[in-house]
């Protein structure tokens, strides 16, 4: 995977003369000490990370944590006080204004929290803005704008004004405006935070859909860990201007770097991250086709259950046998399970999200079977363990990881 953006030792001090504070930072003073000594605020404190090409990289933090400042340092809407931002092996912080404008026009496009549509322009006129200032012909830019409006599902609205649109539609325009430039990198500043929860989810899904087709590099800012987990390939956790942890959603949830991250991880809506693999139980006991009804009944009795899964030698799932079926078979004198009409059960892949089959779990009389790619039975889902996993609200970080059994 190629590195698209590399941020090295980024520091932002809010002052026109940051040297003194920079010096103190070098000496290892804390943000608070610098504030009391110089009166200057350290917005971003020595942050380094890389973003790979085609990756959705989420920067996650509370308001005031400096996440938006970091994003704005990437296109220098805010000038970094020190450090470098390297995009495609060019250090953005060293560019002259003219070169910077060129990079902004061609490589980086931004989507804003409050949509930031120009109220005196129609949807189409807003969408062409980026191409318009590059001096691209009206015909060409409108053609490309119409394409991106179609991509975000806004065909037919091109001559409306922003005040005629709902919040979700406005942000679709914001997204279309950014996409029209065909940038390599999309910078999204809390792009969905101002939307209603339902619309927000819809937009998240849409972004993921679009991303599958476009394969852009996306840097996405959010304060919502659920959102971060849903759309992020990797997540960077920011607190007080410092980077605390970078990792995949699993790593963040499974191995939070500190209590702060763990606290967030506990707030996560588990249905959205738990897969069947996470909540399934080991398939034990199982009976094999070569066994007879007596073995099955014995196992059920031993484990206090009323049905048991049947597999072949290669652990391919054959079906399920209930106690009633086994009793009938024994009375009929059947020797092994091969001759019995087993109950067929729905099978699910381990990667499926629990939330997607919650209704099935709730309705089903029997445990659900989880299989791998080779159709082998790898686990069973029983209602109780699902509820337990969903209800788990935490404990210490270690507990979280072990309870979820997420492979880090």
């Amino acid at each position: 995977m190629e590195v698209k953006i590399e941020v090295k030792n980024l520091v932002k001090i809010f002052s026109s003369q940051p040297q003194k504070a920079l010096h103190l930072l070098d000496k290892g003073l804390s943000k608070e000490q610098i504030l009391t000594e110089t009166g200057l605020t350290v917005g971003v404190n020595d942050v380094s990370f890389t973003v790979n090409e085609g990756e959705v990289f989420v920067v996650m933090g509370l308001s005031g944590s400096g996440k938006s400042t970091i994003l704005r340092c990437l296109n220098r809407l805010i000038e970094p006080s020190s450090g470098s931002v390297i995009i495609d092996s060019v250090d953005i912080t060293k560019l002259k204004p003219q070169e910077l404008r060129h990079v902004r026009q061609k490589k980086l496009a931004m989507v804003f929290q409050q949509f930031a549509l120009l109220p005196h322009r129609t949807v189409l006129q807003n969408t062409v803005y980026g191409l318009e200032i590059q001096g691209i012909s009206k015909e060409e830019r409108e053609k490309r704008a119409m394409e991106s409006l179609e991509m975000v599902g806004l065909s037919g609205w091109e001559h409306s004004y922003p005040d005629e649109l709902s919040g979700g539609m406005k942000q679709r325009v914001g997204l279309a405006r950014a996409l029209t430039n065909d940038p390599d990198i999309l910078l999204m500043d809390e792009a969905f935070s101002a939307l209603d929860p339902l619309i927000r989810e819809e937009m998240q899904d849409e972004l993921l859909n679009l991303q599958q087709k476009m394969n852009k590099t996306i840097v996405f800012i959010t304060h919502d860990l659920n959102e971060a987990i849903k759309i992020g390939d990797r997540i960077a956790f920011i607190r007080d201007g410092s980077l605390i942890q970078v990792g995949t959603p699993e790593e963040i949830i499974g191995h939070p770097a500190d209590d702060y991250v763990a606290k967030f991880a506990r707030g996560v809506d588990r249905r959205k991250i738990l897969t069947l693999k996470d909540v399934m139980k080991r398939p034990h006991p199982v009976v094999q086709l070569k066994d007879g009804p007596n073995v099955a009944l014995q196992l059920m009795k031993e484990h206090g259950i009323s049905s048991v899964f049947v597999v072949d030698r290669a652990r391919h799932l054959q079906g399920l046998i209930t106690a009633d079926l086994a009793l009938e078979a024994r009375q009929a004198g059947i020797e092994n399970l091969q001759g019995i009409d087993l109950v067929s059960v729905p099978v699910h892949n381990g990667a499926v999200l629990v939330q997607d089959i919650l209704p099935v779990i709730a309705e089903s009389k029997f445990p659900l079977a989880v299989i791998d790619e080779g159709q082998r039975l790898i686990g069973i889902i029983i209602r109780g363990s699902v509820l337990a996993a969903l209800a788990n609200t935490g404990g210490e970080p270690k507990d979280v990881s072990s309870t979820l059994r997420i492979v880090g």
Binding site: N75, L77, L100, R101, H102, V103, R104, Q105, K106, L108, A109, M110, F112, Q113, Q114, F115, A116, L117, L118, P119, H120, Y129, G130, E132, I133, Q134, Y161, P162, D163, K170, N181, L187
Partner: protein
Amino acid sequence: MYHLPLGLWVNNGVEWLLNHFGNVFDAFTKSVTNVTDLLRNGLGLVPWFVIILIFALLAWRAKGWRLAVGTTVGLFIIYNLELWSPFLNTLILVLIASLVSLIIGIPLGILAARSDRFHKVLSPVLDFMQTMPSFVYLIPALMFFNLGTVSAVFATVIFSMPPVIRLTDLGIRQVPADLTEVGEAFGSSSSQMLWKIQLPLATPTIMAGINQTMMLSLSMVVISAMIGAQGLGAGVLAGISQMDIGKGFEYGLSVVILAMILDRLSQGVIRNSRAAIKKS
């Protein structure tokens, strides 16, 4: 106690200017006078009802038929009072003075919005221009440009320019930060930023400044009758000096009618520009 000879300094300064640049001032006076005379003669050839019709049309476009009717009635009263010629003189002076104010004032306002330093330098100058009693401008105007139109325009421009500068500055500064960020993030040049984002969004505020400047122009043009400006103000002044209340009232009423028409017209334009910039 030492008395600061401020008045003397100002007198000496003006004298120095006159001694060294007298010719320049004279040439300037002559050319501006020619332009205004040309305008006045040209407008004098247009039949009165055509001018009323033009105003009525503008009023109808800007605000609707009520204002059109009011404008027609008001202008007809002026015509009926036989004040049409002084009315035209005043109108021309107001339009010229306003135009000059806008041509100088709007760029100054833009500069002030874009440079905090210039904004800081300009603010006290504008305070000075606005609070100095307007009569004081008449004296240097008189000395530089003699009696007549040019002095009137000069004094009027100085007096009426501050609002459009201030409101242009304010309008641009009030453009929401996220919208100027859009401009920057997409790589706009600073002139693209100005023409495509800042000025369109500042238009309603700038229009309010233009309205104010026009109103101040009118009041100053009337006062500048004291330095020989022709028009309605001269009639008011004559009314005062002859103790002729009736005459003073007729001219004064005409000023009021002109003021109301200009104000309502430009208010209508402001409203239209607000409506064009829809709230997002």
